[in-house]
């Protein structure tokens, strides 16, 4: 029971970081970002590049990895996404094409096999007779810190207020003087950083792999639908539901069936409550 709780919690935090970024971009910029999984993979691989290949100290290479992930997301927005704003279908296809390009380039440069990175901290803590390694503690701590920072950013700062205004009513926000393009870029960069933090912190456990991008995207999508598109709290709750469910299925049934959990959750929630667990229904009716 305890292992499930521990693994589920770490997975839940990781998935929460991934899904909240996806949800944020949808809420603020109205972009369904299929390139989100690519950000996850970019962060893992750039960490490997800086930390292992170039031998830069860990904290510096973490920051470099995050910065490069954010920079790539901004470049993606500027060179191609900004041209097709408002055309939803083209946005989706372009972000998917971007994911494919990134994954193929990573495959060319780093090779197809997964790359391992050593744990950031050695040792472990014993909780109720079960040893929890420091990496998982690190994931939980860094995720909590990130979520707190994100909550502060969204609730208190000028940028966050602008974002929330855009999410509530785009026209009114722009009328007041919120710079929509700037906010879209900032929200995309923040979401890339969130995915990047998730990618970096799980790299020692999961290794930097190309499948990681699809795994992150698949679960991110499932969580965002389960929690309600654009709802950050809903994503947080749904991330833990899916995290625990996956661990339970992987432990008791089969690890191959892990991914089917996501699809079953999506289909059930779309039948029972299409707006998601935290989505407000009238708002969804308008948007969806």
């Amino acid at each position: 029971m305890l292992p499930i709780l521990i693994y589920g919690t770490t997975l839940g935090f990781t998935l929460a970081l991934i899904a909240i970024g996806l949800s944020l971009v949808f809420g603020v910029a109205r972009i369904i970002n299929f390139a989100h999984g690519a950000f996850f993979a970019i962060a893992s691989y750039t960490l490997y590049l800086f930390f292992i290949t170039l031998n830069i100290p860990l904290p510096v290479s973490m920051i470099l990895a995050l910065v490069s992930t954010a920079a790539i997301s901004v470049i993606m927005y500027i060179i191609s996404l900004s041209r097709v704003r408002g055309m939803e279908l083209n946005e989706m296809i372009i972000t998917l094409a971007f994911t494919i390009i990134v994954i193929e380039l990573l495959r060319i440069y780093f090779g197809p096999s997964p790359l391992g990175v050593p744990s950031f901290m050695k040792g472990g803590i014993t909780i109720a007779g079960y040893v929890v390694d420091m990496q998982r503690i690190f994931i939980v701590v860094i995720s909590l810190a990130t979520l707190a920072a994100l909550a502060f950013l969204v609730k208190k700062t000028r940028i966050g207020i602008g974002m929330r205004a855009l999410a509530q009513d785009e026209d009114a926000a722009m009328l007041i003087g919120v710079n929509r393009e700037k906010m879209c870029i900032i929200s995309l960069a923040i979401s890339a950083i969130l995915a990047g933090i998730a990618g970096i912190s799980v790299t020692p456990i999961m290794t930097a792999s190309l499948e990681g991008a699809w795994y992150a995207l698949l679960n991110g999508i499932a969580i965002v639908i389960l929690g309600g598109l654009g709802s950050l709290v809903g994503s947080l709750i749904a991330a833990f539901i899916i995290g625990y469910a996956e661990i339970i299925i992987a432990t008791y049934v089969s690890s191959h069936l892990k991914s089917i959990v996501a699809l079953i959750f999506i289909i059930v929630i779309l039948i029972l409550r299409p707006s998601g667990i935290m989505g407000r229904h009238h708002e969804i009716e308008e948007r969806v």
Binding site: I93, I94, L96, I101, L217, K258, I260, L263
Partner: protein, 347 residues
């Protein structure tokens, strides 16, 4: 200011004028029959491509190229069926390979494990595959197209995982071997060429009928469709099933031709290939995706040395096309065929 005007007056500017070439011929009137030139103008683009398609094996006797054209036809049918969803209904499917895979697997299970003969296993497998795919996608049709796109990306990835999990039915990683394949390459070529033509005729009929009009209305403005007293969900499910039918049929044919099905039928590269071909040929034109499929399949076959870089090629093509040339090849061809440019001297 004055001098500029004067200088403008003196220089004779040349501009391009674009004239409609076939206005008389395209008026769908008896005028068409006035000259052989007009008759040829109307008939040639409709008759020549199918003739080339049917006469191709007589000109090129290399079996290898028959196989390439079979593959191109496979993609053509799949992308035309994608176009009914993505182009006409506004449901962009990122996982059209789901239908292909279901069609292939159902056919294989029927043929190999229950011994159903080929002429029964293909239709039953096709129907079952389309029904199964529709069943999975149907819940997301109550909401806007975004949900459909999200789920359609997830579903085939999940199916690959489930195939490995239920290895005793699906054969796992190795797939199912030994489907009945009584036909030669040339016969498969003609089956596929016929299927491409029939699919085009049927899908064009569907897309430009009243049914297709409702689909386009759903794409452009779903609330207005609801207000008109039409249930959009029913139309979307029907469109999904029709589209799935063709994709599933292609999968089941492929399964019999290769005598093999495996998880590769569900791979994302197939879905992305279908999208790339449709965008290349021109979305919402039905014939466009088929043109795109033939061009891109032959191109990738020609660039075989790229090997695993095929996906990269698809991604780059998609990115460039959607940013700079979203109209697609077919619309460009149509425009240049129906108009001609000439230079006019302006006084």
């Amino acid at each position: 200011m004055k001098s500029r005007k004067e200088s403008n007056k003196n220089i004779r500017t040349i501009r391009k004028e674009r004239l409609d070439r076939g206005a008389r011929a395209r008026s769908k009137d008896l005028y068409v029959l006035m000259s052989y030139e007009d008759i040829a103008y109307v008939i040639l683009p409709r008759v020549l491509p199918p003739l080339i398609l049917l006469a191709f094996p007589l000109i090129v006797r290399d079996t290898y190229w028959h196989m390439v054209f079979f593959l191109a036809g496979y993609y053509a049918v799949a992308s035309m069926s994608w176009d009914l969803l993505g182009g006409f209904t506004g449901l962009v499917s990122f996982g059209h390979s789901l239908f292909i895979g279901f069609g292939g697997y159902f056919t294989a299970i029927l043929n190999v494990w229950y011994g159903v003969p080929i002429w029964l296993s293909i239709p039953i497998g096709t129907l079952a595959g389309a029904a199964m795919g529709t069943l999975i996608f149907a819940p997301c049709l109550r909401t806007k197209g975004v949900y459909f796109s999200l789920v359609s990306l997830v579903a085939p990835l999940v199916m690959v995982g489930s195939i490995l999990a239920f290895a005793e039915i699906t054969g796992g990683e190795e797939g199912i071997y030994g489907l009945e394949n009584p036909l030669t390459e040339l016969q498969w070529y003609y089956i596929m060429a016929g299927l491409v033509l029939i699919t085009f005729l049927i899908l064009r009929k569907v897309a430009y009928s009243n049914f297709g009009l409702v689909l386009q209305a759903i794409r452009d403005n779903e609330p207005s469709v609801k207000v008109s007293g039409i249930n959009p969900v029913r139309y979307k499910v029907t469109a999904l099933f029709i589209s799935g039918l063709f994709a599933s049929l292609v999968g089941s044919l492929q399964a019999h031709k290769l005598s093999f099905v495996g998880p590769s039928y569900f791979y994302l590269s197939i879905s992305v290939g279908i999208i790339t071909m449709s965008v290349l040929g021109g979305v919402a034109t039905i014939i466009g995706p088929a043109i795109g499929a033939y061009i891109l399949t032959i191109l990738t076959e020609w660039l075989r040395w790229l090997g695993g870089l095929r996906m990269l090629l698809y991604g780059v093509i998609l990115l460039i096309l959607l940013n700079f040339k979203p109209e697609g090849i077919y619309r460009y061809l149509e425009r240049t065929y129906q108009t001609f440019e000439r230079q006019v001297v302006e006084e």
